[in-house]
Amino acid sequence: MKKLLKHISPFAPDISGACSVLYETGALTVVCDAGGCAGNVCGFDEPRWLKKKSPLFSAGLRDMDAILGRDDRLIEKLTLACKQTEPVFSAIVGTPVPAVIATDYKALERKAEEKTGIPCICINTDGTKHYDEGEEKAYYILFKKFAKEGTTPKGNKKAVLGATPLAASVSDKKELQKYLKEETVFFSLGSDISQYINVGDFSHITVVSPSGIKAAQYLKEKFGISYDIDYPFIPEHILEQIKNSKRTLAIHQDVYLKGLRKRGFEGDCATFFKRVQEDTMILKEEEDLKNIAYDYDVIIGDISLKKIIPDYKGSFIDLPHFGLSGRELKNEDP
């Protein structure tokens, strides 16, 4: 049956993706929910929650707020919290509740800016999509709202776009920086909103997950900043494993898979998330993996997927994917 998970837990939703991008920007982020969605973000999908404080709150909606569409109450709460925490801007992240009652985000954004006196963005996530969709929306909106008009690529700094803990499975920039020769800015990992504003400082952007592509295209069109799509952070032990990889299936976010291909991987690719490479197989259901897995001698992917194929006799190489299982790479990479 479609959309029935019998072996694994749901993947990180779009709400978590949006919050992940916003986490270090300095935004006062309001998850427009009753409490559970924000709880899932803080308690599971955001590994930085215990290490680095961020003003991420739940709207604390109650049934009558939703039924009567009491947006004014949300704005009152937001205004109070802005006075108390003095953020640079505010962000409202959608959940199933505003999706069901068809909240007018444009009006909400306008009202919030009027009352708080600081910029506000709304991200219309609804909790039914994967994390990459929420990240894509958040990146795009942030650049559209804050990147300075008329800037040109006068600087020569390099940046990475798309490296959230959900996509890159690490929560500290240092874990990725070590793979690069020069000091690089990671949007959404260790950088704040000033990097989005001063986008003209960058001459080139490497997009490391599908969620960054739309924003990169925008930056290229608007500001002429070049970009490439690659994943340069592949651990040595994985590169070792892909040397003889003809009857091998790799499963991850598709830019990771593209990175594997670029570094000699000759097997097949599959993803549960957005596709970048034309020949990557799209997996939508647990059944989809069951149908193809047994054709391969080796599978590289998050070990939690093995529950779907308990009878698989081939070799399964664990490659944690936080957006899928909630496991960070840091402790797994030998």
Partner: protein, 426 residues
């Protein structure tokens, strides 16, 4: 402001006495909610504590189908780590489902597929639904009936309606009712009773068991101790229910109306005098005097000994612990200790306790864990011991979380608290 909000117990008591509204920061409906790491598992239980999902699986050999968008089930992966991985299934809703409710037609088919997948027949199927269905006004009794017709498995709804958290029947009260809803009326046994309130048992050495035995109660049922579905079904043989947590009151009322089992409410308190008084009242209610003198005197002695060993201590007391933070604070103040800070939620009938606290220690600061201002909380470092997992997060001093899954109660509770404090203070 950029400073954590607090109000002194004196000011708070005055506000309560004058029947003025509580400050905005103490009313969770008036501000954004901060799920700080201090209170995360308390507000939105994952691997620790019991939320609706875990609690609904209290029925032995039951399984759950969570019918919701992916965002509602994401942190369930944490429960897999503590042994629930084979008991959760998910029917994910898409953006059309959440608006049209078309998913309701798929639930029975999903239930049948789950039955086919399992190599055993579960005792029951809990269908857990969330805010989406709260707004759609889903008739879950109809859905569950359909599932039962299709699978033959008793099916029960579990409402994870975070939107109704402050209503008359909040989710954690609703789920307590759900887990007892499969019980059928049967002949009651006069020497049997149930303890209602928690999803884990009381500590084995709790005096309530021998005290009940002393008045002829030979069987004490607790859902957490039921290993089989048959044992669970035998809970309806009880002559009366003892409700130890007010969130179980609705379940007790349900059992009274549907199974004819009356109930008596007790409160978990840590003051030996109050515990003693409560047992006397329980004896009166049951028309069988309870002689708890042995436990009472031993507890008083232990309290005195603890006080001699630790004559002066300053506490910070939280709410993520097995007890009411205000009541524990009052007990500590009555013992002669200082309580500098309390992190707790005002309400739930603790107003009188606050007034007592204010009389002894008007300068005690009361903070709200959920206030966004707690983002700026900084410990002033003059606390000897932090009591509660939230207090332990705020202070890098000696700390006692005191939030075990197995539940303390009565004299056993205060004795355990003092023993644990002694251990930490060594």
């Amino acid at each position: 402001m950029n400073k954590a909000y607090y109000i002194t117990a004196g000011e708070l008591a005055k506000t309560i006495e004058e029947k003025k509204p509580l400050p905005t920061e103490l009313q969770s409906s008036k501000h954004l909610i901060y799920s700080s790491p201090a209170t995360l598992s308390f507000n939105s239980p994952g691997a620790k504590g019991f939320g609706v999902k875990r609690a609904a699986l209290a029925i032995p050999d039951s399984v759950m189908l969570l019918v919701a968008p992916a965002c509602c089930g994401r942190n369930t992966a944490l429960l897999n780590e503590i042994g629930y991985s084979e008991r959760f299934f998910y029917l994910l809703l898409d953006d059309t489902d959440i608006v049209t409710g078309r998913h309701l037609n798929k639930i029975a088919t999903a239930a049948a597929e789950i039955k086919e997948e399992l190599n055993y027949t579960p005792s029951s199927l809990m269908i857990c639904i969330t805010c989406v269905d709260a707004l759609l006004g889903t008739d879950m009794d109809r859905v569950c009936k359909k599932c039962f017709e299709k699978t033959g498995i008793p099916t029960v709804p579990a409402y994870m309606y975070a939107l109704t958290r402050e209503n008359k029947l909040p989710p954690m009260a609703g789920v307590r009712k759900s887990v007892y809803s499969l019980l059928k009326p049967q002949k009651r046994i006069s020497t049997s009773c149930n303890i209602l309130g928690y999803f884990s048992p009381l500590y084995d050495n709790c005096e309530i068991y021998p005290l009940l035995k002393s008045i002829g109660i030979t069987k004490v049922g607790e859902i957490a101790r039921c290993k089989t579905f048959e044992e669970y079904l035998s809970l309806s043989q009880a002559n009366f229910n003892l409700v130890l947590n007010r969130e179980a009151r609705h379940a007790a009322q349900y059992m009274q109306e549907n199974l004819g089992i009356p109930f008596i409410e007790l409160t978990r308190v840590y003051s030996p005098q109050k515990i003693h008084k409560q047992y006397q009242l329980l004896g009166q209610a049951l028309a069988s005097p309870i002689d708890d003198s042995k436990y009472y005197e031993a507890t008083l002695k232990k309290t005195e000994y603890f006080k001699k060993s630790h004559p002066s201590l300053t506490f910070a007391v939280g709410e993520w612990l097995n007890g009411d933070g205000f009541e524990i604070s009052l007990t500590l103040l009555e013992m002669g200790y200082s309580v500098k800070e309390i992190y707790a939620t005002v309400g739930d009938g603790n107003e009188n306790i606050i007034k007592h606290i204010a009389k002894i220690s008007p300068q005690t600061r009361v903070y709200s864990n959920l206030s966004p201002t707690m983002l700026s909380y900084r410990s002033e470092g003059d606390i000897d011991i932090a009591l509660g997992a939230d207090a332990a997060y705020y202070h890098s001093t000696k700390a006692l979380e005191f939030n075990s899954e197995t539940q303390p109660f009565g004299y056993q509770g205060i004795n355990m608290l003092l023993d644990s404090l002694s251990e930490v203070l060594k």
